[in-house]
């Protein structure tokens, strides 16, 4: 077993620097690497590029880095629900590259899987395709999209072990598995670190080979963005 376990978030993020490009898992606030985000705020590194489906809310998730003006550029598919984001974008302080959600996921997966680029129909005929190579296959038009390049991927899993194997829960899985191994260094934080051998190999979602560092996360808030319930009759 190759040991990927590090002591804590400080050790896991010891070599992150300003001007780097990061991938961060999560959909809305679901499955975001809360510990890594807190540490990025504490380290106060600047001018970073963040690849993340969303940008958090004003006072949580990536919104914390935005409030602190640490982000130079965001690459996302949907950025509603964040007033500070909208303000920085409209004033030109923040560079924003909006990318269709499926393309965003596949640009991560392509980096993970060693594809330099891929063709997708998403965005053809729209401003997303402007300046990009397009090509016809079987009578339909496609847009060439390059794989992402990033320095760090920060992902959050439900369970993990020292070998770096990961298991995700529910829809907190989202972009997290696609980002594993898609950056130079993948840092996984887990709600529950289990003994090596405790995870059934049949049920491992991400094999440890895609993860360089893993640590036991703490103080998860797991905030709910839209709490919707029904009443028992």
């Amino acid at each position: 077993m190759i040991n990927k376990k590090v002591k804590n978030v400080q050790e896991a993020l010891a070599d992150v620097k300003s001007k780097m490009t990061f991938m961060l898992g999560g959909f809305g606030l679901c499955g975001i690497p809360e510990n890594a985000i807190s540490e990025l705020v504490r380290l106060d590194i600047r001018e970073v590029t963040c690849i993340s489906n969303n940008a958090g809310v004003d006072d949580f998730g990536l919104g914390l880095l935005l409030q602190n003006k640490q982000i130079k550029k965001m690459i996302s598919s949907y950025v509603g629900e964040n007033d500070e984001f909208e303000r920085q974008m409209l004033s030109g302080e923040l560079e924003v590259e909006l990318t269709p959600q499926g393309t965003l996921a596949e640009k991560c997966r392509a980096a993970q899987a060693g594809f330099p680029a891929f063709y997708t129909p998403a965005g053809f005929g729209t401003e997303v395709a402007e300046g990009k190579e397009t090509r016809e296959f079987d009578g339909k038009m496609y847009v060439l999209e390059p794989a992402f390049k990033a320095d760090f991927a920060f992902v959050k899993a439900w369970k993990g072990d020292a070998a770096g194997n990961l298991v995700f829960k529910g829809t907190s899985r989202n972009f997290n598995p696609n980002m594993c191994g898609a950056a130079t260094i993948t840092v996984a934080e887990v709600e529950e670190m289990v003994e090596v051998g405790a995870l059934d190999p049949n049920n491992v979602h991400i094999p440890g080979i895609f993860v360089q560092r893993i640590f036991q996360g703490k103080n998860y808030e797991k905030r709910i963005e839209q709490r919707t319930v029904r009443q028992k009759q």
Partner: protein, 218 residues
């Protein structure tokens, strides 16, 4: 009487057929799940990574790790599955989803749709909409026929940045059911009590009216 949002959702629910995998967008489309016939088997896909979405959870049973694409807490049905975003869009891009229902700010008579950006005013992003409309073969748009100033959103040509080109097959509005083909909107049904003239007046795009137009049965 023009339909309200629930009326639009009820009419669209009639388009959902037995054995369909369906992706519902945010807003009116989400309501469609409540009105699908109970004697058919349908599975709802949410692009954040769940197939077999169920109702909202009971108060106190909500789980922060189980949400839909609108970030609402949900439950799952027996037989449901979770998966990552790349696989979710493999279902969508690979045409495994049978029906896509989404909202729009504008549609045009050649099937273009705009729903993600108002330059200088609102930029929330396209989310999964561009992937959905670029691949789905069966796309129903749920929308109001006019904006709050009474101006038509059923157009010859979209004025807003496009989400997809030539992709919309059907539009259900508060006034009418329209089929989009041959560069025109074909009027299929009227909302109860709404005249053909009223629909004509609210439609900027080419409207084709063939014979008697029936009222929607809701």
């Amino acid at each position: 009487m023009a339909l309200d949002k629930i009326g639009i959702a009820k009419r669209i629910a009639q388009e959902v057929q037995d054995g369909f995998y369906v992706n519902l967008g945010i807003g009116i489309p989400t309501l469609v799940a409540n009105y699908v016939r109970e004697d058919i088997e349908v599975e709802f896909q949410s692009e954040n990574g769940v197939l077999g979405m169920g109702a909202f959870p009971f108060d106190g049973e909500e789980d922060a790790d189980i949400i839909n694409a609108g970030k609402q807490t949900i439950t799952t049905m027996p037989g449901a599955s979770f998966f990552d975003s790349s696989m979710s869009f493999a279902m969508i891009r690979g045409k495994h989803v049978d029906l896509t229902i989404l909202g729009a700010m504008e549609v045009s008579e050649n099937g273009d749709i705009a729903n993600w950006k108002i330059p200088g005013k609102m930029v929330k992003g396209m989310g999964g909409a561009m992937d959905l409309v670029a691949s789905a073969e069966n796309i129903i748009v749920a929308m109001m026929h006019t904006n709050k100033h009474g101006e038509s959103k059923i157009l010859k040509k979209c004025s807003l940045p496009l989400t997809g080109v030539g992709c919309v097959t059907k539009v259900v509005t508060n006034l009418a059911v329209l089929e989009v083909k041959d560069n025109a909107f074909y009027l299929l049904e009227r909302a109860p009590g709404v005249s053909v003239e009223a629909i004509q007046n609210a439609t900027e795009g080419t409207l084709i009216i063939n014979g008697e137009i029936p009222e929607m049965a809701i």
